[in-house]
Symmetry: C2
Subunit: 227 residues, 2 copies
């Protein structure tokens, strides 16, 4: 039983890599840079995106692909900002997939006008496990971890924190009301992903959101060679 | 591809049900009632358990099975309370399973002295998706949702909120610092699981934790017929 399960998983991951590469080529050809945005449910992924998109990216046109199990709450919030938003619901398969995979993103490509954007942010399903295992064709992976989740999360979900190029520590406005040591969180992060870029922000107050905006602009400005 | 994936999933769930029933029979035979405790990463599952176990259950002896991808942080925290704690790490399979299944729990049965406890709390991996699909042999399922995660969670992760007999809304001490309407959360919950039992607590201040203690005691006191 266990051996069979592992084999199935390996096949699934192999197929996923192939499709992810095809997605990446399509994105490159269109000159679109792509971020896979991950984090636990309620970490503040959508709220952060709202903040960044409200301010607007300097010179660059952003689009969003929203991954959700059910509903279009996040897509509705974001489309109020006049940014192209595509909704991808995962619920038809297996009672709701707990992550986006490359094939799901591929199935959404036809619904997106890649010529109209420079940067695509793919908001993954809220989950600290499986999204880290499935590339979707992204240039970079960023994750949001909120201070309310606790300092221990890098040690408990190491693959997720290790898979990212950027860790955004969100909800720092709540620090005065919590027993959360930023230093200890960063020590734990350093243990699993030494030297990873990180920043501290509050989507609620806007503090530090400029750093994230700058990071996204830097990524968008780094044109694909084939672009 | 899609069709194949669904078939594999169905087979996996069928096998899981069979093993879950076997676990349930073993628990019943030993007179142990079992709770499957679920929630997002950082919702406060361990902190709530700590609070409850620190106060102790009236008349009943509790044990804990800790599901984690990696490490033993939670088990270490709980074992300080002199309660039997068994650690179950999911990391060998598939880069870390995102949920416990019946077979994982079965593999831990030999390490637990079921005669020494009346109530077993199984703390699942932090995840609002897959744990809801895999019964492990429990009598009841409870989930913890923290107010910092947002009011929309029942609508975004409906299967999880629907699968539970109890929803514990945690971190209510932070309400004054958040834009979170308890009424709206409860309306959303009512939409996906009408009439489900719910309670509001703070693991940090201890407010409302007595309700959870009472619920667990009620479950432990409801002896299995074969007990």
């Amino acid at each position: 039983m266990h051996r069979t399960k592992v084999n199935v998983a390996t096949d699934v991951l192999d197929a996923n890599e192939t499709i992810a590469r095809a997605n990446r080529e399509d994105f490159d050809r269109a000159g679109v840079r792509v971020v896979n945005l991950m984090g636990a449910p309620g970490a503040g992924k959508t709220a952060l995106l709202e903040r960044v998109l409200m301010e607007g990216l300097r010179e660059f046109r952003a689009g969003v692909l929203e991954g959700d199990i059910a509903g279009s709450l996040d897509a509705d919030r974001l489309s109020a900002l006049h940014v192209p938003v595509t909704q991808l619901n995962t619920s038809p398969g297996f009672g709701g997939e707990c992550h986006l995979d490359a094939n799901m993103v591929r199935s959404a490509l036809g619904a997106m006008d890649l010529q109209a954007i420079d940067l695509l942010v793919i908001e993954n399903v809220g989950n600290l496990v499986c999204p880290a295992e499935f590339r979707v064709g992204e240039d970079a992976r960023a994750m949001v971890s909120s201070v309310t989740e606790g300092e221990d999360k890098p040690l408990k979900y190491p693959l997720m924190f290790r898979a990212c190029e950027l860790v955004v520590l969100n909800k720092i406005d709540l620090l005065p009301h919590l027993d959360f040591s930023v230093d200890r969180f960063l020590e734990n992060l350093e243990q699993v992903n030494p030297g990873v870029k990180h920043m501290q922000v509050s989507a609620r107050t806007g503090e530090g959101v400029g750093y994230l905006k700058g990071w996204l602009e830097g990524l968008a400005g780094h044109r694909p060679e084939a672009g």
